[in-house]
Structure formats: structure tokens, C-alpha cells
């Protein structure tokens, strides 16, 4: 399998008024082509920081990120980043929202627009292209945000708690939706979540981080049977017997306590 991303001994140390904070320590792992890798960890363990580093938005204190064999320096044009909120621009139509990434990178041309049209048609947003974000449901908005990200054909997709702003039911549906799209478009994905179930239901591998400073506790390769050659969908995984085992293992590793203040 081709290696898309390699993280090499990443440390992230923040300088604050009242001292240094070590957010991440000695993080190394790789993401391979077509894989969906999840990162789970207790809140404040630096998960989101890790994604910001991979994307090039944040410079690591030590260590290097390699994407496609090249070190990341500044915001990488090989990544697509999806944030917690859909961040659609309310004053633009869905179509112009979806084209935003291409517009910023100066890549709007016949070929890319055709690809965007293809995405919109395939994923049921074509009829909504002239609507405005406020006219769409939460799930549809998230789908539009995903298409905006995929439109620039990233080598690596980063999902930063991309579903946590949605209500629970919508979230299950969107997870299902996104997984299908990612499999269909064969996108290599690195996702961060605090939701263990979400990670197990979506990912091929899960990296468990410890509380601050974030270190790698364990990397699990999730094995679920494939029914008729098709991988199980997130909802099907949730009802599979392996799900509970993985859940319990990761839960114990996370070692979460409600501590007395």
C-alpha cells in the first residue's frame, strides 16, 4: 500500500503567558492510500492540533510531516480540511460555496467544474445548487461542505470533529452518507473525534492518544467481516459483535475519570 502521509516524531509545545504547555509528544504514524484513519483521545489531548499540524496551518515545534514524500511547509495544497461546523458562506449559493476552494486556489476551469457538477449530481445536491445554505438541512449542509472539500481533489482529507455540531440522529445519517462518499471517491482520510463509537463505526484503523501531553497509546486495526465484498456500513458495524469489544478496549485505554475538583 502506498504511504500518503508520514508523521515523524512530532512535538508541539505552546508558549503561553504563564509557561509552556506540551500538547503533543513524539507522535509518529503513517496513513496509507484509501485508508480511513481515526484519532481518538480525551478532550484537550491535542487531537485537533495534530490535524492543524498535518494541514500545515500550525508549525510543529519538532518533527516533520510528509505528504506524498514532500515535507509540509505552510498550508499544503494536497489536503482538504473539513471543520466541525460546515462553514458554508450564507451569502453564496450552494454552487458558489462548493466552488470556493477551487476559486481560492485559482483552479476553476472546465475540467474541475465538470468534476464538481459530477459530485453534486452523484450526491443529490444538484437540485439545490442555486439554493442558499440557510435553505438546507444540517445533513445537506454537511454534504455540501464535504463536496467543497473534495472539489479540490485532495490527496488527504482531514475531518476535525466534522459531525459533532449535528444532532444525534442527523449525525448517524451523515456518518453513513460521508462513509459512502469517501469509499466511492476513494479518499484517504484522517479523522479526529472524541466519539469512540463514531471512530469504530467508520475507520480502518484507530490511533488512541493519551491525555495531555498527547502520546500514542495504541494503534488498533479494526477488523470487520465484509458482506458480499462490500465493507460494512457504519450502522451495520454498530450492530456487529466486534463493535462492543473494540469499544471496551478503547474505552479502557482512554482511561477517562470524572475527577473530584
Amino acid at each position: 500500500m502506498r504511504e500518503i502521509v508520514r508523521l515523524e516524531n512530532l512535538d508541539e509545545i505552546y508558549q503561553a503567558e504563564n509557561g509552556e504547555i506540551t500538547a503533543l509528544e513524539g507522535i509518529s504514524f503513517s496513513v496509507y492510500e484509501g485508508e480511513l484513519l481515526g484519532i481518538v483521545g480525551p478532550s484537550g489531548c491535542g487531537k485537533s492540533t495534530l490535524l492543524s499540524i498535518v494541514s500545515g496551518l500550525v508549525q510543529p515545534t519538532h518533527g516533520t510531516v510528509w505528504i506524498g514524500g514532500e515535507p509540509v511547509n505552510g498550508v499544503s495544497d494536497k489536503i482538504g480540511y473539513m471543520l466541525q461546523k460546515d462553514s458554508l458562506l450564507e451569502w453564496r449559493s450552494i454552487y458558489r460555496n462548493v466552488l470556493l476552494g477551487l476559486e481560492i486556489r485559482g483552479l476553476v476551469c472546465e475540467e474541475t467544474v465538470r468534476y464538481v457538477d459530477h459530485l453534486l449530481t452523484t450526491y443529490g445536491l444538484h437540485d439545490f445548487r442555486d439554493k442558499y445554505p440557510s435553505q438546507l438541512s444540517g445533513g445537506m449542509r454537511q454534504r455540501a461542505a464535504l463536496i467543497r472539500t473534495l472539489a479540490v481533489r485532495p490527496d488527504l482529507l482531514l475531518l476535525d470533529e466534522a459531525f459533532s455540531a449535528l444532532d444525534y440522529q442527523t449525525r448517524l445519517a451523515v456518518t453513513e452518507d460521508v462513509c459512502r462518499i469517501l469509499q466511492q471517491e476513494r479518499v484517504t482520510t484522517l479523522m479526529v473525534t472524541h466519539d469512540i463509537s463514531e471512530a469504530i463505526s467508520m475507520c480502518d484503523r484507530v490511533v488512541v492518544l493519551s491525555a495531555r501531553p498527547g502520546r500514542i497509546r495504541q494503534i488498533h486495526t479494526l477488523r470487520f467481516p465484509t458482506g458480499d465484498g462490500q465493507p460494512l456500513s457504519p450502522l451495520e458495524r454498530r450492530s456487529h459483535e466486534n463493535f462492543k469489544t473494540y469499544f471496551n478496549t478503547i474505552w479502557k485505554e482512554l482511561d477517562v475519570h470524572v475527577e473530584d475538583q
Binding site: I79, L83, L89, L100, Y132, S134, Q135
Partner: protein, 291 residues
């Protein structure tokens, strides 16, 4: 989300009809009370003047103001109104352009904005009218001094308000465009400025009033025409009818200018996107949309 039944051909329920009728009645009632307030005030003013309870030499009187108004028509009233409007609009436009330019500059450079902060605060607190004599000496007595006065009053407020708006743009939106590798200018163009269209129009609405304040203050100090000139002149020759009439005209001018800005706002927002104009008075604001 529930749907609001607005499709043609659908029968409106009796409850909804009652609800709509009540709202309509409320609106009409408010309008009637607003209007009658003015009518009562003027009627009382006129009546008390006629009865000799108030001194019309000092208080003037609606009928005398009306007379002055007709008299003023021969006296180039329109020219005076025109001069004041022109000065206001020029000062206002300059304030808008310069204010936006400066706010953009300060947004651009965090360092610069931190350096400038105390200056802005102090300049904002300074009563700009105190600069009147300085302005007249520097730019010369005439229309230019009045325009600079209007500019001086509206500029700092514009800078502060726009900068505040720019800086409180949703950081998630900025992060989103940055992940696509947006430059600072692209970030400003695609997110920061359009997200602050409402800030822009709020500041315009405040500024049209402030520019008028600047113009009148300027006309008090130095002018040969304009409503401010009429008011000062009327005061000096103790013609309260002229003063009151001019103030009344000024009131109408101020209202019309404000209304003009509101109209422009509606037009621009509708042109840029339709979401805001969709919220008619009959509908609650859409949130989330229909699933």
C-alpha cells in the same frame, strides 16, 4: 422544522386568519398613534399660540412657520437644502471610503492596530467640533471646511465600528478559507468583508446622522448658505420662525437621508443574497430549514 403554509390555493385556517388580522390591527394602531402624536403636538402649539398662553415671538407657531416656508421659496430655500445635502453626502462618502480603508489597513496589520488603539480611543472621545477653528484655518473658510468637519465627526466611528466587525468575523470561516490556502487578501475578500455587510450598513446609518451633525456645526461656524446658516442667521436676527422652519426642514432632510441608506441596504443585501430579504414581517426567521 414546520412548514409555513404559503402555497397559493391552500386554505388558511380560521386561527391563522384571526392571528393575521390581529397583527394587522396592531400595526395600524401603532401607525395611528404615531401620526396623531405629531398632529396633537402641532395643534396644541398652534392653539396655545393663538390663545396667547405661549409667546409666539419666542416659540414661533406652526402657521407662521408655514408662512415662512412659502416666503422662503422665493428666498432660495431649495438652494439652502441642496447645499446642506451636498455637503453631507460628500462628507459621508469620504468618511465611508476613508473609514473602510483605514479599518482594512488596521485589520491587515495586527501590530498597527495595537499601536493605533489608544489614538483611536482618544480621538473618538474628542469632541470634533473643537477642531472647527483649526479646520477653517487649515483648509480655508468655505464648503471644504464644512466637508472636513463632517468627515472628522464620522471617520473615527466608522474605523472603530468596521474594525470591530472585521475582527469579530467567525474564526471558523477564516480557518476554512485558510485551509484552502487563501492569502490574507483572499480571506478579506471572500469572508471578512461580505460577512460584515450588516456592520457596514449599521455604520452607514449612524454616519449619515453624524455627517449631518458635522455639516450643521460647520455651517454654524462658516458658511454663506445651508440650513445651518439659516438657523444661525435666524437666531442672530431673532427670527424664531426662520429658525424653527429650518429645524423642521432639517428634520425632514435627516429622515430622508436615513431612509435613503436603509433603501440602499435593502437593495444591496437583496442583490448579494436573498436570505435576509426572505424574512418578511409575516414569517419568522428561518433557522435550519425544512428537513
Amino acid at each position: 422544522m414546520w412548514k409555513i403554509s404559503k402555497e397559493p390555493g391552500r386554505t388558511v385556517s380560521a386561527e391563522r386568519q384571526i392571528y393575521l388580522a390581529r397583527r394587522r390591527r396592531d400595526r395600524v394602531l401603532v401607525r395611528i398613534c404615531q401620526l396623531s402624536g405629531v398632529v396633537v403636538l402641532f395643534a396644541l402649539w398652534e392653539l396655545l399660540g393663538r390663545l396667547g398662553i405661549i409667546d409666539t415671538f419666542i416659540m414661533s407657531q406652526p402657521s407662521r412657520m408655514l408662512e415662512t416656508l412659502f416666503h422662503l421659496r422665493e428666498n432660495q430655500l431649495l438652494t439652502h437644502v441642496g447645499v446642506t445635502c451636498l455637503e453631507t453626502l460628500v462628507g459621508f462618502s469620504l468618511g465611508f471610503l476613508l473609514g473602510n480603508l483605514l479599518a482594512t489597513l488596521l485589520w491587515w496589520s495586527d501590530f498597527l492596530s495595537r499601536v493605533a488603539a489608544p489614538y483611536l480611543v482618544v480621538l473618538n472621545a474628542l469632541p470634533k467640533i473643537a477642531l472647527g477653528p483649526v479646520i477653517i484655518i487649515w483648509v480655508g473658510a468655505g464648503m471644504q471646511a464644512i466637508i472636513v468637519m463632517a468627515l472628522a465627526i464620522s471617520l473615527i466611528v466608522t474605523v472603530l465600528e468596521m474594525l470591530n466587525g472585521f475582527c469579530s468575523t467567525d474564526p471558523e470561516l477564516i480557518k476554512m478559507v485558510r485551509t484552502f490556502g487563501a492569502s490574507k487578501w483572499q480571506t478579506f475578500q471572500t469572508v471578512v468583508y461580505p460577512a460584515n455587510l450588516h456592520t457596514l450598513f449599521n455604520s452607514l446609518k449612524v454616519n449619515i446622522g453624524l455627517s449631518l451633525v458635522g455639516v450643521i456645526a460647520g455651517e454654524f461656524l462658516v458658511s454663506k448658505a445651508g440650513l445651518g446658516y439659516l438657523i444661525v442667521y435666524g437666531g442672530q436676527v431673532f427670527q424664531m420662525d426662520l429658525v424653527m422652519t429650518s429645524v423642521l426642514i432639517l428634520l425632514v432632510v435627516a429622515a430622508l437621508l436615513y431612509w435613503g441608506v436603509s433603501l440602499l441596504e435593502r437593495f444591496v443585501i437583496r442583490a448579494v443574497s436573498h436570505i435576509h430579504s426572505r424574512r418578511g414581517p409575516e414569517e419568522p426567521a428561518p433557522s435550519g430549514g425544512n428537513r
